[in-house]
C-alpha cells in the first residue's frame, strides 16, 4: 500500500502557505501511520500491539481531520474568488472574537460493574484496553492507554490536553475507544510450563470470544478509522482493533473552573467484545483561557486625570489585559513588574464612552465608569492623537465583544496546568529483587552467578552512597576480600568447574572500567558478548543517574535450562567444524542459533544449522522449543552473527 503524494496534489490548483502547512502535516501523519503499521505487523507482545494500534487510529483520525480542513480551505478559497469576481464583498467590519486555550484534564469515567462480579471476583478477568481521543477543530490528541478490568471502579486518564487555538464556539469531541484484550494466562503468575500448555489450547469461552472477534462487524463497529467516510485506503493490518464505545461533545457552556460531570452517549451493547459497563457520565475539568485574558490586547501612552485637580493630567503607560487596564508610570515598570499606578477594571459592567472635546486638547477624552460597591467612579483618559483615541476605543469594543463571547471564562482567569514535556520511556525496574538485578546469559554457568554477586558487592562498595550493604552480602562474608582481586582475566571463583572448555572467560572488568575493554577483545570471548556488555555497561550506567536495568530471565528458568544441557551441546555456532572440537571462533548464543533455526525453511542465511546441531545436543526437540521461546521472549536482546 503506497499513498502517493500525487493523489493529493491533483486537487490543489494554487497552494497557499496554509495549504503547504497542512500538506506537511498530512505527510507526517502518513509516515507515522506507515511506521505504526510496520510495528504492528512486527510486534509480538500484546501491549506493543495495542499501543501501535492506538497510534494507528490516532494517525488515521488526524489524516481525516487535516484532509477535511484542506477541503474546507479549498472551498473557502473558491468562494472567495467567486465573491471577488462578482464584486460582492460582504461587510468587512464583522468583529471576530479572540481565540483562546482550552484545556481538558483529569478525565474520569465511572464504571458500573455488577456487584456480584466486583465483590466476588470470580471467573475470568475480562480486560479491555481503553483510551480517549479528543478532537477540537483540527487538533486531535489521544490519551494514554489504560487497561481496565473489573477491579477498577473508574477509568482515569491523567493526561492534561491543551488545545491552543480554539474559538468561543468550539466543539470538543471526546471519544472513548476500547479493545478487548483476551485473557492471557501467562501474566506471570503461572509457571512457564503450565503457561505454555494453556496457551496452546483454547477454552470454550475463550474460543467463543475469538470467534466473536473474528466475525467482522459483529457489533457494528468501525474498524481502524473510526470515521464514517474513509477517503484513504485503510491498510488492513491484523492486530487489535479499537472500537468506539462512547462519545460526547463539550462546548463553552461546559467550561468551568472546577470538575463537572457530563453525559456520555454510549454506542455498542453488551454483546460486543469491547463492552464495558459504563455508568453513563464522564467527569472532567474543562478550562478555557481566552487570549483576551492572558495577553495584552492593547498598550500605549495615555494621559490620565488623577486626583481632584481638574487640570492635572499624568502621563502613564496603559496596558489593557484581561479585566483590567493597568496604568504604569512608564513602560519599563511594566516589564519590571512594578505595581501599576492605577488599575481600572474593565468588565461587563463597565461603561466607556468618548466624552466631548476637552477645550485644552485636540483629541476626545475617554471616560470609563465603573461601579465600585454601589459608587460610581469615573476615570478620564486621553490619548495623544485622534488615531490613538480611535484605536483605544476599538480595543475596548473588541474587549467587550470578546467578553460577551467567552462569557464565564472572562470572569476570572482559569488556571491551566501545562503538561510537562514527556521524556522518552524509561524502563523502571519491575521489582527490587536480586533476581532481576542479575544479568545472566544462557552461556554462563552457575559459577558466574557468584561472579556477578561478587561484582555487585564491589559495585556497592565503590558507590559510597549506599549506607548498609544489601542483606544478601551475608553470603559472601567469608569471601569478599578475595573475589574482587581475582576478576581479570581468570575465573575468580574456585568453584568453577574444571570441565570448562574455554579457559579465559569473558573479561570481567571490575566496575567502572570502560566497556570497550571487554568488548573488543575477541580472543575466545565465549558465548556471546552480551554478558560482557551488560556487565561492563550496567556498572558504568549505575554510576550515572539514569539507570536502565537490563531485564533477564529469572534465575529458575536459567538454571533449569543449564541443567538440561551438557557442555558439549552448547555450541550452536555457525561454524561447522566437528562437534567435539572447541571452535576457536567466538561462539554464539543459543539465541542466534534459534534465529536461523526458526526461519530455516526460508532462510537465505549462510549458516545452515540443521546438520550441525544434530547429535551434539541431548534433548534436541525440547531444546529447540526452548530456544524458540527464548527468541520470542522480548526481554532478550538478540544478536546474530552474519
Amino acid at each position: 500500500m503506497e499513498i502517493r503524494r500525487g493523489k493529493f496534489r491533483q486537487s490543489v490548483f494554487m497552494e497557499t502557505p496554509q495549504d503547504s502547512d497542512i500538506q506537511k502535516k498530512i505527510d507526517y501523519e502518513i509516515r507515522m501511520r506507515e511506521g505504526a503499521c510496520k510495528l504492528l505487523a512486527a510486534c509480538s507482545q500484546r501491549d506493543q500491539a495495542l499501543e501501535a494500534s492506538k497510534s494507528l487510529l490516532t494517525c488515521n483520525a488526524r489524516i481525516m481531520a487535516y484532509m477535511s480542513e484542506l477541503q474546507r480551505m479549498k472551498e473557502a478559497q473558491v468562494m472567495q474568488r467567486v465573491a471577488r469576481r462578482s464584486s460582492d464583498a460582504g461587510p468587512m467590519d464583522d468583529r471576530s472574537p479572540c481565540k483562546g486555550k482550552v484545556a481538558i484534564s483529569d478525565l474520569r469515567i465511572p464504571l458500573m460493574w455488577k456487584d456480584t462480579d466486583y465483590f466476588k471476583n470470580k471467573g475470568e478477568l475480562h480486560r479491555c484496553a481503553v483510551f480517549c481521543l479528543l478532537q477540537l477543530g483540527g487538533e486531535i490528541f489521544d490519551t494514554d492507554m489504560v487497561m481496565v478490568d473489573r477491579t477498577l471502579t473508574d477509568i482515569c486518564f491523567d493526561n492534561t490536553i491543551v488545545f491552543n487555538e480554539a474559538g468561543p464556539g468550539f466543539e470538543l469531541r471526546v471519544e472513548l475507544y476500547s479493545c478487548c484484550s483476551e485473557e492471557d494466562y501467562s501474566a506471570g503468575s503461572t509457571p512457564r510450563k503450565l503457561a505454555s500448555k494453556l496457551s496452546s489450547s483454547l477454552g470454550r469461552s475463550a474460543g467463543k470470544k475469538m470467534r466473536a472477534a473474528l466475525e467482522p462487524g459483529a457489533c457494528s463497529a468501525t474498524s481502524n478509522g473510526g470515521g464514517a467516510t474513509i477517503l484513504l485506503p485503510v491498510p488492513s493490518v491484523q492486530g487489535p482493533k479499537y472500537h468506539l464505545l462512547a462519545h460526547t461533545t463539550l462546548s463553552l457552556s461546559h467550561v468551568q473552573d472546577s470538575f463537572r460531570t457530563h453525559d456520555l452517549t454510549i454506542t455498542g451493547n453488551e454483546e460486543c467484545s469491547y463492552w464495558l459497563p459504563l455508568y453513563g457520565g464522564v467527569c472532567c475539568r474543562l478550562a478555557a483561557q481566552p487570549h483576551c485574558m492572558t495577553q495584552q490586547m492593547m498598550s500605549g501612552c495615555l494621559r490620565v486625570k488623577l486626583g481632584g485637580e481638574p487640570q492635572g493630567w499624568t502621563n502613564v503607560y496603559g496596558v489593557l489585559k484581561g479585566t483590567n487596564l493597568f496604568c504604569y508610570h512608564q513602560k519599563e515598570d511594566m516589564e519590571a513588574k512594578v505595581e501599576p499606578v492605577l488599575t481600572i477594571g474593565i468588565n461587563k459592567e463597565t461603561r466607556i464612552r468618548a466624552a466631548e472635546k476637552d477645550p485644552h486638547s485636540k483629541a476626545q477624552n475617554i471616560c470609563i465608569t465603573n461601579q465600585y460597591g454601589g459608587e460610581e467612579v469615573t476615570h478620564t483618559l486621553a490619548a495623544d492623537s485622534r488615531e490613538d483615541t480611535q484605536r483605544w476605543m476599538e480595543a475596548f469594543w473588541q474587549q467587550f465583544f470578546d467578553m460577551s463571547q467567552w462569557r464565564q471564562c472572562c470572569d476570572d482567569l482559569m488556571k491551566i496546568e501545562l503538561p510537562s514535556p514527556r521524556k522518552p520511556a524509561i524502563v523502571t525496574p519491575k521489582q527490587g529483587s536480586l533476581y532481576h538485578e542479575m544479568v545472566i546469559d544462557k552461556s554462563d554457568d552457575i559459577g558466574t552467578v557468584t561472579d556477578i554477586l561478587a561484582r555487585r558487592i564491589e559495585e556497592f562498595e565503590l558507590r559510597a552512597q549506599l549506607g548498609s550493604p544489601p542483606h544478601w552480602m551475608a553470603l559472601f562474608d567469608e569471601d569478599p576480600p578475595h573475589t574482587p582481586q581475582h576478576l581479570p582475566p581468570h575465573s575468580p571463583s574456585p568453584r568453577l568447574h574444571s570441565r570448562q572448555p574455554r579457559s579465559p572467560r569473558c573479561q570481567r572488568t571490575p566496575g567502572l572500567l570502560s566497556s570497550n575493554a571487554s568488548l573488543t577483545s575477541d580472543s575466545d570471548s565465549p558465548a556471546s558478548v552480551s554478558p560482557c556488555f551488560r556487565q561492563a555497561w550496567s556498572p558504568v550506567a549505575s554510576s550515572s543517574s539514569g539507570r536502565f536495568r537490563p531485564r533477564t530471565l529469572s534465575l529458575d528458568a536459567k538454571l533449569s535450562t543449564l541443567r538440561g544441557r551438557g557442555y558439549n551441546g552448547f555450541r550452536c555456532n555457525c561454524q561447522p567444524p566437528t562437534a567435539s572440537s572447541v571452535s576457536p571462533r567466538p561462539t554464539q548464543t543459543a539465541l542466534s542459533c534459534s534465529s536461523s533455526t526458526s526461519s530455516s525453511s526460508s532462510s537465505e542465511g549462510s549458516n545452515s544449522q540443521e546438520s550441525d546441531l544434530g547429535f551434539s545436543r541431548p534433548s534436541g526437540a525440547r531444546r529447540s522449543l526452548r530456544i524458540l521461546r527464548a527468541k520470542l521472549d522480548p526481554r532478550n536482546w538478540l544478536q546474530s552473527q552474519v
Binding site: 510496520k38 510486534c43 573488543t520 558478548v529 537490563p550 531485564r551 567466538p586 522480548p634 546474530s640
Partner: protein, 125 residues
C-alpha cells in the same frame, strides 16, 4: 542519532563494502548485529538514545571481512545494499545481510565519531 517519528532521519554515513568470505560451506561477513524494532532498545549498549531500535554492530571478528572493510564496533547500520535498516525487525536485518547469492554487501553505517570528524574538518577551513 536519535530520531523523531515521522521526520526523515539524517546522519553522516560512511560507505562500507564488505566482501563475504567463504568459510567452509558458508559465506560470512565477520560481525554480529543486535537490535531491531521487535527488540528491547534499552538493552542496547551502543545506542545513544535508548529508544533507538536500529540495527547496531555488536561484535566484529578480528581480521574478518567486516573489520578489513572498516566496520567498527557500535556502528549503526542504516542501509544494506539499498535496503533500509532503520525500521526492520532483527530477523529481517539478518536476512538482508546473509543472502546466499550476494557476495558483496554495501552498507551505509553511521557512528558518532563521523559527525565529529566532519564538524572538525569543517571548522578548520
Amino acid at each position: 542519532m536519535s530520531f523523531i517519528p515521522g521526520q526523515p532521519v539524517s546522519a553522516v554515513v560512511q560507505r562500507i563494502e564488505i566482501h563475504k568470505l567463504y568459510e567452509g560451506d558458508n559465506l560470512i561477513l565477520g560481525f554480529s548485529i543486535g537490535g531491531g524494532i521487535d527488540q528491547d532498545p534499552t538493552q542496547n549498549p551502543f545506542s545513544e538514545d535508548k529508544t533507538d531500535k536500529g540495527i547496531y554492530v555488536t561484535r566484529v571478528s578480528k581480521g574478518g571481512p567486516a573489520e578489513v572493510a572498516g566496520l567498527r564496533l557500535g556502528d549503526k547500520i542504516m542501509q544494506v545494499n539499498g535496503w533500509d535498516m532503520t525500521m526492520v525487525t532483527h530477523d529481517q536485518a539478518r536476512k538482508k545481510l546473509t543472502k546466499k547469492n550476494e557476495d558483496v554487501v554495501r552498507l551505509l553505517v553511521t557512528r558518532k565519531s563521523l559527525e565529529e570528524t566532519v564538524r572538525q574538518s569543517m571548522m578548520q577551513h
